[in-house]
Amino acid sequence: MTFLAKPKLHHPTLPKNKLGFTRRDYEGKVSTLCAGCGHDSISAALIQAFWELDIQPHRVAKMSGIGCSSKTPDYFLGQSHGFNTVHGRMPSVLTGANLANRDLIYLGVSGDGDSASIGLGQFAHVMRRGVNMTYILENNGVYGLTKGQFSATADKGSKAKKGSINADSAIDTVSLALLMGATFVARSFSGDKHQLVPLVKAAIAHQGAAFIDVISPCVAFNNHAGSTKSYEYIREHNEAVNRLDFWPTREAITVDYSAGGVIEVPTHDGSILKLRKLHEDYDPSDKINASAMIASAAVKGEVLTGLLYVAPDAEDLHAHLNTYETAFNTLGEKELCPGSAMLEKINAGLR
């Protein structure tokens, strides 16, 4: 961390997006996390993604729980809405907000403690309900704020800084998200922005529950030999299944790819996901195959990253519930309270 605010000065050639903002305009307050924390790199990737997508910051709502990860929404998108919830309860607050105002872009930021321990139930349900959101899990495998105990995502057999070995099984949040019905599932690494930024952009564009597990080394408590969430371990065991390029519109595609090895996945809003295959037999639209690949990679000690699963025909909670298209918070009293005659009619219909 640092005591100083980041100077306002920027590179003279810093580009502006369609809204006339520079990347620096999407920053927040200066981070108070430890020096070298992977979470800060994720914040930088989020800033980059929102800037590249020309999203107006005030159209974004950032929700988080408790923990190092959940502090980070203060460090990016300083002009956006935010809500710091009770520990593990980000999904329910976000679900409520999304129901009340479906027009905002929802970003949930959580950590392995917040999502895989105290908030495991909430995590499961927000996925199965298909709330239209981008769920970023900043996964470092330890409880940093309480000085480095194993979290529920720590791999069995991995070593703590003081030498103890983890005897419990790890919760694989990616597999869990798949199982619970998330329609966009990815894993990435805080130290690889080339992979992470397009994944975040695609997740934001995805109309449904999009989940990205981002392995984010804890430099203070989990970056030693024997850790399976250290910078060095992840770099050595990172197995990317594909390289994603995200195109906001079909017309924007200008890059020539060699035939074969590229999968195009259209999405609801007309944007295109272009996947360069790195694994011969990996098909991210095949959920059963994805589950099997993730499991077999885990056995081999590999950390499978990239876009692991995407359902092109995804639907969100509002579609499931068949809600009104206008955001509830903009409806007037007349629409919300249609009067006793209407109440009678509804009651009659239920008798």
Partner: protein, 611 residues
């Protein structure tokens, strides 16, 4: 690219743009920090050691440091008018607010009471000679300075008008040097041979470029009474021989002398004063701020007019005619001025001041005294040692390579003093030690540094001026008032501390990207190594300023390299604050130039004796 060799003393020196650009290599950020700390005397002495005339240069320097200053580049595209730190005027602050007695005492402490038995003579008492005297007298040399004028100072005092540089400032700084035991005598040297016979161990010639160029066009002879050579006229005003000029004055020339001429005219009787230049306004040699000052005093500068003739009536000057020209550039970009074909333009005037350049002139050096001159009339010198073809004769300042400015004269003086000291210690003049360099970590705590790393967003502060009505009436009243203490502090905060270097240790780096994410200027990238040309394009922000180096590490664990573009780094230290392993550190670089004395000697003779 090969990893950057930061052991090369020039690498980090170049990053300190101001110091690198300064001919005397004054450690600018070092004294600016001392100003911010209120340590004016210390700041003054840092200057004094390096540039000898802080109070004088703080008013008159050509400021090569300021166009080089990084602040001007980092403010690009974000400040309405990107401007460098007001380095020159901060130098004046050190002179204005120092403790005079303390400084005097500390300078006098360097005085040598015992002679080393060697006698040096300096011809001309300008900045170059005085620098030689300042450097050599404390070593025990008996230095004598001769000048044709009754005061020491040379062009500093004869050519620079008092409204830019008060007499007290000159006297104070010249006396610091003379008080070191340097003897000054008024004596017009008419024969080099005579001086050579007087038994000096070394002779330094710092006689300047004393001849103002004339303009030989029709009417010159007829109007001679009212046509004056700029530098001679300025000198005559300085000495009080000339106290008035006609109401309508034309100043010819576009250099700083022309600016001094027109502003002086305006103060001693000139009402309609104009500057007329051959070239375009933008190509004028005068410093931009001097042009601004002249215009501020209501003096128009007219360009693209080539003097054609002086008009006289009955032997009296009445005006001048000019040919209108335009600039034409050939394929090689070489400019020529060609007539526009329009009719000539005439201006009425009472007096003309010719300030179209200066020349060297050595009528007092006999052709057969052994000193060789080239076809341009300049002495044949060794470029590094300033030694003439007679081994114990040295030249410096304007008399060495033609007209430059005070700060160059000082730099020459330092180098010539080193040469003289080595010569008289029987050493090889060409073996000159590189500057002494220190690089010290500024880390005080987890995120505490021994320098103020917060970046001020302020735009450059203007130096206040005295009331123009009063200054235009009095040729001796100083126009610039100098910064007050509070403004000086604020201006000092604009300095980026470029001497506090970002030092990278590749072995410690874990490639966590923390530095990349925090860097406000996108200076730092982790990329696959490549040739410089390719690498410059592949960075997070393109490195297009080719005069600024890339700092490249050795290969890291991922086989990438760290590449930092030095160009617009704020030296804010955030990379080092965010680095979890100390791979980045902020280290203060200080280059101590080599001056005459023990430090400049290689002691090769002593070594030979020992062997």
């Amino acid at each position: 690219m090969q990893p950057t060799d930061i052991r090369n003393p020039d690498y980090f020196h170049k990053v300190v743009d101001c110091q690198w650009a300064c001919p005397a290599h004054t450690p600018v950020p070092e004294y600016i920090r001392l100003i911010a700390a209120g340590r004016y005397s210390d700041a003054y002495l840092v200057n004094w050691k390096s540039n000898v005339f802080p109070g004088i240069l703080g008013r008159t320097c050509d400021r090569p440091c300021e166009p080089a200053c990084r602040r001007g580049r980092v403010e690009e595209a974000q400040q309405a008018k990107p401007e460098p730190v007001a380095i020159c005027r901060l130098k004046r602050v050190t002179a204005d607010y120092k403790d005079d007695d303390d400084v005097k005492k500390r300078i006098a402490a360097g005085k040598k009471t015992k002679s080393n038995g060697k006698k040096i003579v300096c011809i001309g008492a300008g900045p170059a000679s005085l620098t030689v005297a300042r450097d050599l007298a404390p070593l025990g040399y008996e230095v004598t300075v001769f000048d044709q004028d009754p005061r020491a100072g040379g062009m500093i005092w004869s050519q620079i008008p008092r409204f830019r540089l008060p007499l007290e400032v000159i006297d104070e700084e010249v006396n610091y040097i003379l008080d070191l035991g340097v003897s000054f005598k008024q004596r017009k040297i008419t024969s080099m041979k005579e001086v050579m016979k007087e038994g000096y161990d070394a002779i330094f010639v710092g006689s300047g470029a004393p001849r103002g160029r004339d303009l030989d066009i029709p009417g010159r002879k007829e109007g001679a009474k009212n046509i004056h050579i700029g530098i001679d006229w300025l000198s005559s005003v300085s000495f009080g021989h000339t106290t008035k000029i006609g109401k309508r004055v034309i100043v010819l020339g576009g250099g700083n002398t022309a600016m001094d001429c027109c502003r002086t005219s305006k103060r001693i009787g000139g009402e309609d004063v104009k500057v007329i230049v051959r070239s375009g306004f933008d190509e004028m040699k005068a410093s931009p701020w001097e042009k601004e000052d002249a215009q501020h005093e209501g003096i128009p500068i007219m360009n693209f007019l080539v003097p054609k003739s002086f008009i006289t009536q009955g032997g009296k000057l009445t005006g001048m005619t000019f040919e209108k020209v335009k600039a034409v550039y050939d394929d090689k970009g070489k400019r020529s001025l060609v007539s526009t074909g329009e009719p000539d333009q005439a201006f009425e005037c009472d007096d003309v001041l010719v300030a179209v350049g200066q020349e060297n002139s050595f009528p007092w050096i006999e052709k057969d005294c052994g000193i060789e001159f080239d076809k341009w009339g300049l002495p044949v010198l060794d470029k590094a040692t300033f030694q003439a073809s007679v081994p114990n004769v040295f030249f410096g300042g304007d008399s060495a390579f033609g007209p430059k400015n005070i700060i160059w004269a000082v730099a020459h003086g330092h180098d010539a003093a080193v040469s003289i000291d080595k010569l008289l210690n029987s050493e090889d003049l060409k073996l000159r030690p590189a500057p002494g360099v220190t690089l010290v970590s500024q880390k005080m705590g987890i995120h505490e540094w021994s320098y103020d790393n917060e970046i001020a967003g302020d735009a450059r502060y203007k130096v206040p001026w005295a009331d123009i009505k009063a200054t235009l009436k009095n040729v001796k009243m100083e126009v610039e008032l100098g910064f007050d203490v509070a403004t000086a502090w604020k201006e000092a905060q604009r300095c980026l501390n470029c001497d506090v270097q970002t030092v990278f240790t590749d072995k410690l780096c874990i490639e966590c990207d923390a530095c990349v994410d925090i860097c406000p200027m996108d200076c730092i990238s982790f990329v696959p190594n490549a040739e410089e040309e390719v690498l410059r394009k592949n960075l997070n922000a393109p490195a297009t300023n080719l005069t600024q180096d890339l700092y490249v590490s050795g290969p890291l664990k991922t086989m990438r390299v760290m590449a930092k573009d030095e160009d617009v780094c704020l030296h804010c230290g955030l990379c080092a604050e965010r680095c979890p392993t100390g791979a980045w550190d902020m280290q203060k670089f200080l280059a101590e130039m080599t001056y005459a004395g023990d430090g400049c000697r290689n002691h090769q003779n002593q070594k030979k004796k020992a062997a």
